[in-house]
Symmetry: C2
Subunit: 197 residues, 2 copies
DNA sequence: TTTGTTGGTCAACGCCTGTTGGCAACGTAA
DNA sequence: TTACGTTGCCAACAGGCGTTGACCAACAAA
């Protein structure tokens, strides 16, 4: 059972001649998904951007869902919040999310797709659950409240991303990173560490 | 120029025999747009829900964009914030938005569509600009800062709607209206009335 | 050189989409 | 009754979609 598919991830380090092509496809896919959402980001358009034939996409990623999954393997790369002073949690969280969101458009693509695509929404939920929930558990007063507090933070962070990077509301776009941090950090700090209102 | 199209809005009160059908189409369209987004809400599916022929949709609303525009004529119905005590604006704003969002799914449809559809995004922006900005202007310390403050409120409100009504993050869904108000009201209050940080 | 694997193109498939025009049934005013 | 505008269904169109399989070129091992 050596497998016919050349895409089989047999070992981790298996440099193939087609790696550059694969990377081109993924980059084009990320851009298209981020710009157009799942339905309007057609395989044909992605292939055109990557200057290859649409059938290559199918060969390397199976189908459109596989391509999407490969193009949006997001990792929020959370820092270790047990080492962050408790009163700085809000600020660190905001700056970290700004970093993540402005890097490569993976999260923008994920957000756009999550809105019209059930698996996309599920993945978004998983990402935030796996990566934001532990932060809340580490710093909030009662661990039982961690999901609620993480959810509130997710709402605020995603709302800013929505208005700033997707809908592009002018006031939200005009804010500098500094200003975003000054406004949002106290909010997240309160959601995470304040007594339940 | 009497117009061939029976859909011509000549007068405001022109009861037609087809009014119930038109209403059925709009209701079905709102549901489909809210559930599936713009691309996947097909005219055929909407017509099936309304138990009529797809061509009727075209006759009454011209094309798909016209149908969408008719189905999502949103009005946030803002109360008069000059009569609200200054320290209550956050709370009133949250409860009002919860009311709006849980009524009929118009806003959910609009949000879903705005994410993958340029005119949809533009309309969302317009709605918030026309209706949230005056509120900010009425209550914030420096009117020049009103757009920024309205934008921050929009981010928080849309973020909650996103996680609660669209992505359905469990912690966000589990919150009661009471809890949402208690958590979010102070945030909006600060965004609107606090000194610039 | 031969042989087999990989990288890539081409043409086509079946399906679904938004949209159109023709045609029958109904209701109403003359 | 006749004439006409409205309401509705039906069948079809052109085009785009995801997906498939046959086929050629380049390379690597024998």
């Amino acid at each position: 059972m050596t497998g016919k598919a050349p895409a089989a991830p047999s070992a981790d380090a298996s440099p193939r001649r087609s790696d550059t092509t694969r990377a081109c496809i993924l980059a084009a896919a990320r851009e298209r998904f981020a710009a157009d959402g799942y339905e309007r980001a057609t395989i044909r358009a992605i292939a055109r951007d990557a200057r290859i034939d649409p059938s290559m996409v199918m060969r390397y990623y199976g189908n459109k869902e596989g391509l999407f999954a490969a193009a949006t393997s997001a990792d929020l790369r959370m820092p270790d919040f047990t080492r962050v002073p408790r009163e700085d949690v809000g600020r660190v969280l905001v700056t970290h999310f700004l970093d993540m969101w402005e890097d490569g458009g993976v999260l923008t693509a994920l957000l756009r797709v999550a809105l019209t695509n059930q698996p996309g929404a599920e993945r978004m939920r998983t990402i935030f659950e796996e990566q934001l929930l532990p932060v809340a558990r580490a710093v909030c007063p009662d661990p039982a409240e961690a999901p609620t507090r993480a959810g509130l933070c997710a709402a605020q962070v995603l709302g800013l991303a929505l208005t700033r990077y997707v809908l592009r509301f002018p006031p939200s776009v005009a804010l500098t990173r500094e200003e975003v941090t000054r406004w949002l950090a106290p909010t997240l700090q309160r959601y995470l560490t304040a007594e339940r209102p």
